[in-house]
């Protein structure tokens, strides 16, 4: 039973890292393709576009941080990790896994639209291009916070 509990807990950590990571990779890919298209005609816009290309990458980091925290908790339990706590760790990882993956993909699309607008109206790059993408980011941050708070709520046995 202890082995199953350990597996469930590690599965949660893995999901947080790879789902958010996949989302970020797809999101950056979408934004990157649009940015490359603009840069092929207007290379001087590189600086304005850079932020919009890297924004979808943050979710990958959130997932990584949560996975790291989750592994810390698993280690703190040691051999005493039971099924209830394993499920708690697994559940804690889900918010950032799903919110991270989906928000990164949609943020990539929002950034791509912002990049196209920057191509025509560079003065709107931050006002609309970055800000709208940042609004998508809010929901990844919320997912990250909830994952973090759940992990912090899990009571780790103190060593005497």
């Amino acid at each position: 039973m202890a082995q199953i509990a350990l597996g469930i807990a590690f599965l949660g950590a893995a999901l947080a890292a790879f789902m958010a990571g996949i989302g970020s990779a797809v999101g950056i890919g979408i934004a990157g393709r649009s940015a490359t298209g603009v840069l092929s005609e207007k290379p001087e816009r590189y600086g304005q576009l850079f932020l919009q290309v890297v924004l979808p990458g943050t979710q990958g980091f959130y997932g990584f941080v949560i996975a790291f925290f989750a592994m810390g908790r698993i280690r703190a339990f040691g051999d005493g990790l039971d099924l209830v706590n394993a499920l708690a760790i697994f559940s804690a990882c889900l918010p950032i896994a799903f919110a991270g993956m989906l928000s990164a993909i949609h943020q990539g699309k929002t950034c791509a639209a912002g990049i196209l607008m920057t191509a025509k109206r560079p003065e709107m790059a931050v006002k609309a291009g970055v800000l709208y993408a940042a609004m998508v980011e809010v929901y990844a941050v919320l997912g990250f916070l909830i994952s973090l708070l759940i992990l912090l709520q899990i009571q780790v046995p103190t060593t005497a």
């Binding site: 979408i30 940015a35 298209g37 005609e41 207007k42 990049i115 191509a119 025509k120």
Partner: protein, 344 residues
């Protein structure tokens, strides 16, 4: 369940353009940059109002249409415009990831070449040259095949179109029958291909074009006092019966006939101008404006073939407008006539 080709208008102003296609992210971004370099309406109006050809040409300095040195004949202008048109078509082909969409562009030129060739053949004139080199068959092969009457080298759609056009001509030995037959076949071919590639945008685009062609045909038939009911193309959003009914109405009844369609303003404006000026200029402009309004809805697409097709259309029209204005200016045409065509 209804089929997509039924004459049903289930949209308010413009038909649907379909979803994004993220494979086209890079191509769409390039096109958005190039769109920013399109000539503004103000520039075209200034050209139309310019005092002379030289003044109109001067307004193009700083654009890709800039002419080097003083130009007093149209040859260099035409050469420059042909070069720009060639470039935009090559760009379109390079940006398109779906071969059937490129084939549709080529088919447009194939049909134009075919129309020209058949007209020459049936009127016993030499097959000659002057064919577009953007068709799926090169001009040289095209001329040779036509001369030898060996159509096997052509794609199937072209072979079928030839057969229909020639048969239509020999029914009454009427040269116009060739155009009607090719128009009909081309419209059918486009709708069929749009279905095959599953493109919502192309289907809407071609159906709008069929409607606008039918509107033009209706007014032209009425102007010529002809009652040929079989000339309207099927497949548009508006049913053919409505156009046929329009032949029986007076000019004042035409706009109300289209009241429940998105073409009401187009017909109303075009008919009013025609009855006052006996000219189709405004109808042509309003049809073009409706089509461009539809193409402008592709701005909501972040990645997809729609903005690329729209850009090709915009660019080709821009080249045509520049040619029209410069030709008019070189021939000393009244600015008002040019403005009527351009729109104030």
């Amino acid at each position: 369940m209804r089929t997509v080709d039924e004459a049903v208008i289930d949209f308010h102003r413009y038909p649907p353009i379909g979803p994004d296609d993220w494979r086209y992210g890079l191509a769409t971004a390039r096109v958005r940059c190039l769109e920013a370099a399109l000539l503004s309406r103000a520039t075209l109006l200034d050209m139309a109002n310019a005092a002379s050809f030289a003044a109109a040409a001067e307004l193009l300095s700083g654009t890709e249409y800039a002419l080097s040195g003083a130009v007093d004949r149209f040859g260099p202008v035409e050469e420059l415009l042909l070069q720009r048109r060639r470039e935009v078509r090559e760009l379109f082909i390079s940006l398109m990831l779906d071969d059937p969409l490129v084939e549709l562009l080529r088919a447009r030129h194939d049909f134009a070449n075919m129309r020209l060739a058949i007209r020459r053949i049936v009127t016993d004139r030499p097959v000659g040259s002057g064919y577009s080199d953007f068709g799926s068959v090169s001009p040289e092969e095209f001329e040779e095949a036509i001369q030898q009457e060996n159509y096997n080298a052509f794609p199937l759609y072209l072979q079928e179109a030839i057969e229909e056009a020639v048969l239509a001509y020999y029914e009454n030995r009427d040269i116009r029958a060739i155009d009607y037959a090719i128009d009909r076949y081309e419209a059918r071919y486009r709708i069929r291909t749009a279905h095959e590639v599953g493109s919502v945008f192309l289907l809407s685009f071609f159906r709008v074009r069929i409607d606008l062609t039918n509107i033009r045909t209706l007014l032209r038939l009425k102007a010529a006092d002809r009652m040929e009911r079989g000339l309207f193309l099927p497949g548009g959003f508006v049913e053919v019966e409505r156009f046929i009914h329009g032949l029986d109405l007076g000019y004042e009844g035409l706009a109300p006939l289209f009241y429940a369609t998105p073409y009401y303003e187009t017909v109303e404006g075009g008919v009013a101008y025609f009855t006052a000026e006996k000219s189709f200029l405004r109808l042509e402009r309003l049809c073009e404006e409706y089509l461009f309004g539809f193409l402008r809805t592709t701005r909501s697409i972040t990645a997809g073939p729609q903005p690329i097709i729209a850009y090709l259309m915009f660019k080709e029209t821009e080249i045509r407008m520049v040619r029209m204005i410069l030709t008019a200016k070189m021939n000393g045409m009244d600015a008002r006539l040019i403005l009527d065509r351009l729109g104030e």
